[in-house]
């Protein structure tokens, strides 16, 4: 195995890790947004829900920016073609993320009913829409995009195919359960209880969607080819399903933190299952496999990959260390008195 290929594999793994961590961390922020208009019963509960993500939403979104930047640096051809092929879908994603960030930060800055109601809608849209769009995007990537020697032949409407939509529904429920568990862990009293109860109820829907999704994936994508070639890999989707079951188990035992941890690992394992199935493709072609974007035909040069590897080895552990420390500073449920006295949101 030559150095270039080793680096290409390394960056495929890092690419998968960045996306997985992004979905694990931003998943609960998006999930909080989806639940926000229905779960918070009064102004204080609304502010409490926003405050659960207040110190972390921006840092979590940076994982997306890093995933994008890493795609640009390590697989520039994939970055260029994927972003231009999915132009309008990404435009919608951009706007929904813009709305999300601004809504979270601006809602509490003016004490007027109309102002707050406007941003309330923004928080919901900014939670729901990115989840749907990410699901549809990855669903279509798993199926392969229609591309060949003459370029891309897909349309925006074409992305809304049954499998793509099912992936969108899967992401929505994954993040909704995840967000409900996060809110239940970070709050106290009625809000926490209602969030936990909601997580339990929506878990059943999530489990049903997940099974449907696995079957549909087998029928309409090439994701399982790698698994059939080396059956030992089936341990991965098995672990994902077990982790999903563990969420339910922990909830029954009354351990909210345990359920949230299981939900974190479920998201990571679902992503890992997808990425292992994609390898060595980043984006397969549904028309002609010669035009699939792979780690070999779309990567950077050996020099750039080597530089980026050093950068990742230096900075990623540091980032994880201070992020972990800041999460520790803010550990445990929010103090209801702080919500009143600090008035950040």
């Amino acid at each position: 195995m030559d150095a270039l290929y080793a680096l290409q594999v390394t960056w495929f793994v890092l690419w998968g890790v960045l996306w997985s961590v992004y979905f694990m961390l931003d998943g609960f922020v998006l999930g909080m947004g989806m639940l926000y208009p229905f779960m918070a019963r009064d102004e204080k509960e609304k502010r409490t829900m926003i405050a659960t993500v207040g110190p972390v939403w921006d840092g979590n979104e940076v994982w997306l920016i890093t995933a994008g930047g890493a795609t640009f640096a390590a697989f520039p051809t994939t970055y260029a073609l994927m972003f231009s092929y999915l132009y309008t879908a990404l435009l919608l994603l951009l706007f929904s993320l813009i709305i999300r960030g601004v809504s979270i930060e601006f809602r509490g800055k003016v004490e007027k009913q109309g102002w707050k109601r406007f941003w309330d809608v923004g928080i919901f849209v900014g939670g729901m829409l990115p989840a749907v769009l990410f699901g549809i995007a990855f669903g279509n990537i798993f199926q392969g995009l229609p591309m060949d020697a003459s370029g891309y032949h897909g349309t925006l409407v074409g992305l809304f195919n049954p499998y793509g939509l099912l992936a969108g529904v899967l992401f929505v429920f994954l993040f909704m359960v995840h967000g409900a568990l996060y809110v239940s862990v970070k709050t106290t009293g009625g809000l926490s209880r209602r969030a936990a109860a909601f997580a339990g109820r929506s878990w059943s829907v999530l489990a049903a969607v997940a099974i449907l999704f696995l079957v549909h994936t087998y029928l309409s994508t090439g994701i399982f080819a790698n698994y059939l070639a080396s059956p030992v890999l089936f341990l991965l989707p098995l672990a994902a399903v077990s982790s999903l079951a563990l969420i339910r188990l922990q909830l029954s035992r009354g351990s909210l933190a345990g359920a949230f941890a299981a939900s974190c690992s479920t998201i990571v394992l679902v992503c890992a299952t997808g990425f292992v199935g994609l390898f060595p493709n980043l984006i397969p072609s549904s028309l002609d496999t010669a035009y699939s974007m792979t780690i070999t035909n779309s990567s950077s040069s050996v020099a750039t990959l080597a530089v980026m590897t050093v950068v990742a080895l230096v900075f990623v552990p540091v980032v994880i260390a201070y992020k972990a420390w800041v999460y520790r500073v803010f550990r445990g449920p929010l103090n209801p008195e702080d919500i009143d006295s600090q008035k950040v949101y």
Binding site: P55, F72, L94, T304
Partner: protein, 457 residues
């Protein structure tokens, strides 16, 4: 309009909008960190109320910088796929390094700063805004090294990729050291970051002036004004100095930009600098040149009064940037810069003589003067980016060859309209919030528990 023109309009609008928020973030983070450290050292609660007041404005501004920044990262791929394919091997690295080394630090520690008032010690809290300031400035370094490479593409080889179905030819990293030590990028970094400090200084002076005229919170705003005046004056002189270095860097690497900046049509030696010039691109000459200082342009560009400057007539017409726009933007930027230096000198003088409250006319002047650095910064980017045309990477790749092939004009027109509408609304909301928060002034008293000693600032 074709897809390239529409894409250029979109990039111009989104990047100029993004750059409304960036420079204030760069400078205000430094000022807020300094205020909070003054509090830690002296225990004087006024410093803390200052840090919290200016920090609140910082946060409102910061959010829009963040959300409009993602657009920039996505747009390279969405609209400029041919560019991204061609140069991604070099251009992608600084962007990814920016995210890993700076964006995480900035966002995580700003979260700690906003919510950690009674959770960490005073020093740790001051450190968190210090790290925000450091990371913000670090991110500017990486993005300007990326832009610097587009201006002066060092350390690259053009490589044919035989047998690759997706990309046949591209620029590859030959010398990473050269890319990261590109003098063009570094001089641009210092010039841009320092201009952000000037902008933040004028912002703080302007808002303080409004309160001093009331008068409201006189002690706090006099102190803010004085700190900003010094910060603005020192940074202003350094912007001037780095601007001079920037000019000679352009002279070394971008003859077509230099010729447009100075409106030089004929190649000749000992080029003078005229105070009043009206260039005429059609006639390929200046229709008006008044008050010429002999040999000054040559001296500034090459440190040699007799140096030769290449004229626009010796550059093929299709390789010239739009002369009028570049020339006038440059002149206006420099003029505004000089005006700001004069205002800064007056501000420092009046502050140290303790006559600032007794100068209502000057204070009234400093409120509209808040707009000056914003205008100068936008003009600077017009000079930098329009002056590079028709190249997207100077001498290597033309803008016309850089757009995405799979995106059509209708899609870009749609997104251009959508960005314009959404950004206008965001801009209006942000301006409203900044104005109301600035006018509301600092909190009358610190929240309970914040002035205690030890843990809990």
């Amino acid at each position: 309009m074709d897809v390239v023109t529409l894409g250029r309009w979109q990039f111009a609008i989104t990047s100029m909008f993004h750059f409304i928020f960036v420079p204030l973030t760069l400078g205000l983070s430094v000022l807020v960190a300094w205020m909070e450290w003054r509090f830690v050292k002296t225990g004087d609660g006024t410093w803390l109320r200052m840090a919290r007041f200016w920090g609140r404005l910082f946060v409102i501004n910061f959010v829009l910088g963040v959300v409009t920044g993602i657009t920039m990262e996505f747009q390279f791929g969405m609209n400029w796929a041919e560019y991204s394919k061609y140069v991604g091997d070099i251009f992608g690295a600084p962007l990814a390094i920016e995210a890993t080394s700076a964006f995480f630090m900035e966002s995580v520690f700003l979260g700690l700063w906003m919510f950690g008032w009674n959770k960490v010690s005073k020093k740790t809290h001051a450190w968190s805004i210090t790290l925000v300031a450091f990371a913000t400035n670090l991110s500017a370094l990486w993005i300007l090294l990326a832009n610097g490479w587009m201006q002066n593409p060092v350390g690259a080889n053009i490589v044919e990729l035989a047998g690759n179905p997706l990309v046949s030819r591209r620029a590859e990293m030959a010398d990473v050291f050269a890319v990261f030590t590109n003098p063009y990028g570094w001089v641009k970094f210092f010039h841009t970051v320092l201009s952000g400090y000037v902008l933040a200084a004028f912002f703080v002076m302007g808002v303080s002036a409004w309160h001093l005229l009331k008068p409201n919170e006189v002690v706090l705003f006099k102190r803010s004004f004085k700190a900003a005046a010094v910060f603005g004056l020192v940074s202003g002189f350094l912007v001037l100095g780095t601007g001079d270095f920037h000019g000679s860097e352009i002279a070394k690497t971008q003859p077509s930009k230099l010729a447009a900046l100075e409106a030089v049509w004929e190649t000749h030696k000992g080029v003078g600098l005229s105070i009043v010039v009206i260039p005429d691109s059609e006639a390929e000459r200046n229709s008006l040149e008044l008050i010429t200082i002999p040999k000054l342009a040559s001296l500034l560009a090459y440190r040699d009064p007799d140096a030769e400057i290449k004229g626009l007539k010796d550059i093929p017409k299709d390789l010239r940037p739009p002369v009028g726009l570049v020339f006038h933007s440059f002149r206006l930027m420099v003029g505004i810069g000089m005006l700001m230096l004069l205002l800064s000198i007056a501000a420092v003088y009046l502050s140290f003589r303790d006559r600032i409250e007794a100068s209502p006319l000057f204070l009234k002047l400093m409120i509209p003067a808040m707009a000056l650095p914003y205008i100068a910064g936008q003009l600077g980017w017009i000079v930098a980016e329009v002056g590079r045309q028709p190249w997207i990477v100077y001498g290597v790749l033309k803008t016309a060859d850089a757009a995405s092939k799979s995106v059509d004009a209708a899609q870009v027109l749609f997104s251009l309209v959508a960005f314009t509408v959404v950004y206008s609304l965001l801009g209006a909301v942000d301006a409203y919030l900044l104005v109301t928060s600035a006018k509301a002034g600092p909190e009358a008293r610190l929240p309970a528990g914040l002035d205690a000693t030890g843990k809990g600032v």
